[in-house]
């Protein structure tokens, strides 16, 4: 969690801002003023694993929010390359001072309406997700949580409201490596999943669920009254950050469904059901054409698939751990 991120990242190739020992510091190890200065200058290079995002901003609220949400990520103030370029800017005119706002820009375009200035982080996260979904079309981007254990990825494709992010967050706090709570980023050429390591966006009741599940979890501030209700961000843990460039093979597909009062049930699914769950929960399935189809078929054929219905997060985690330990679940080939 954020407080235990001092291990740094010796492998970081892009840093020009290094600690006294030559190691790249993490966001929690630098001052808020340093974050503010970097954002207002050339920007910060956020290495998510499968993509590098350059962020510039003069929004006063963003630096401390970024420090919590990306606490364990390396603080990199100069880079040779970024896949995505985001500028969060204060508007000119009255909206700079009167009910101030913040604007999301990328490559000269402004794809969204401005947000209230104090919600810079949710705007960065939603806008960043939108950009990733638009741009990284060398990957099949499944709308899914993705976590890894023993080198295999547990994919949690689901529609909004199914408890995907809550379950992904709880798994990441229970010894699983977080790849993403939003993107199951499958590389069709290498047939592996890649991390798109951003904070887990928790909404409404999920925030309290995760606070209770792990009181030490590095949760950022709560943003009430967003268009998705109250939102808070869980920072990725140090192991997930250090291993964000490490791919992992497909392991299993689990369709989560939170239902109040439901006993925990894990039911096997036919490959056809898994295929349609993948195809219908992908950002760019149609765009990729035959490549997307072949990738979804590969995953459906090689991964055992289940539907998990649950109401108790602890039971759900235990059930998935038992599933993973099952010797019948051999690595996909």
């Amino acid at each position: 969690m954020a407080g235990s991120c001092a291990s740094g990242d010796d492998s970081e190739p892009r840093a020009v801002i290094a600690g006294t020992d030559g190691r790249v510091p993490t966001f929690v190890e630098v001052s808020t003023e340093a974050v503010r200065a970097a954002l207002a200058g050339d920007g910060l290079w956020l290495d998510l694993g499968a993509a590098v995002v350059r962020v510039r901003s003069d929004a006063p609220a963003l630096p401390p929010q970024l420090q919590v949400a990306y606490g364990c990520h390396p603080f990199v103030g100069a880079g040779a390359w970024a896949d995505l370029h985001i500028h969060l800017a204060r508007p000119s005119g009255a909206r700079r001072w009167l009910r101030p706002q913040v604007i999301f820009r990328c490559d000269g375009a402004q794809p969204f309406e401005p947000f209230p200035a104090d919600t810079a982080l949710p705007l960065l996260e939603w806008g960043g997700n939108w950009l990733i979904g638009q741009r990284l079309n060398d990957l099949l981007l499944l709308h899914a949580g993705a976590v890894e254990r023993d080198g295999r990825v547990l994919l949690l494709p689901a529609t909004p409201g199914s408890g995907k992010s809550t379950l992904t967050a709880a798994l990441s706090l229970s010894g699983w490596r977080l790849l993403s709570d939003e993107f199951g980023a499958f590389d069709p050429a290498a047939q592996v999943f890649r991390a798109v390591l951003k904070p887990v966006a928790l909404k409404n009741a999920s925030i309290a669920v995760i606070r209770e599940f792990s009181p030490a979890a590095a949760l950022g501030p709560e943003f009430p009254k967003t268009r998705k209700g109250t939102v808070a961000h869980l920072a990725a843990g140090p192991d997930s950050v250090l291993r964000r460039h490490e791919p992992a093979v497909p392991g299993a597909i689990v369709l989560p469904q939170w239902r109040a009062g439901s006993p925990t049930r894990l039911e096997p699914l036919e490959p056809e059901t898994a295929f349609s769950a993948l195809a219908f929960n992908a950002f760019n399935y149609k765009l990729l054409g035959a490549v997307g189809f072949d990738a979804a078929v590969h995953l459906a054929q090689h991964c055992p698939a289940f539907r998990l219905t649950y109401s108790d997060i602890h039971e759900a985690i235990g059930t998935l751990a038992a599933l993973w330990d099952d010797t019948a679940l051999s690595p996909a080939t």
């Binding site: 390359w81 970024a82 896949d83 741009r135």
Partner: protein
């Protein structure tokens, strides 16, 4: 540099659509600018097509290559 020559210099990369051989001399910062501008001007797919047709895709550094392939 005049405004006109500055603009001409900034758009010199567009010539790669006619003569894709020039991409071999581009540095990573050049490519970063080309990918951003090419996407903004809706020319990236055309450039990708020309680079691939000329058999030069493998000479493109991996960071920009993925964006060309993705087009």
């Amino acid at each position: 540099m005049t405004d006109a020559s500055h603009i001409a210099a900034r758009l010199a990369w567009v010539g790669a659509i006619r003569d894709p051989g020039v991409v071999g001399s581009w540095s990573l910062p050049d490519w970063e600018r080309v990918v951003r501008l090419g996407r903004r001007l809706r020319l990236l797919a055309r450039l990708a097509e020309r680079v691939e047709a000329a058999g030069l895709l493998e000479q493109v550094p991996p960071q920009p290559r993925r964006h060309l392939v993705a087009e």
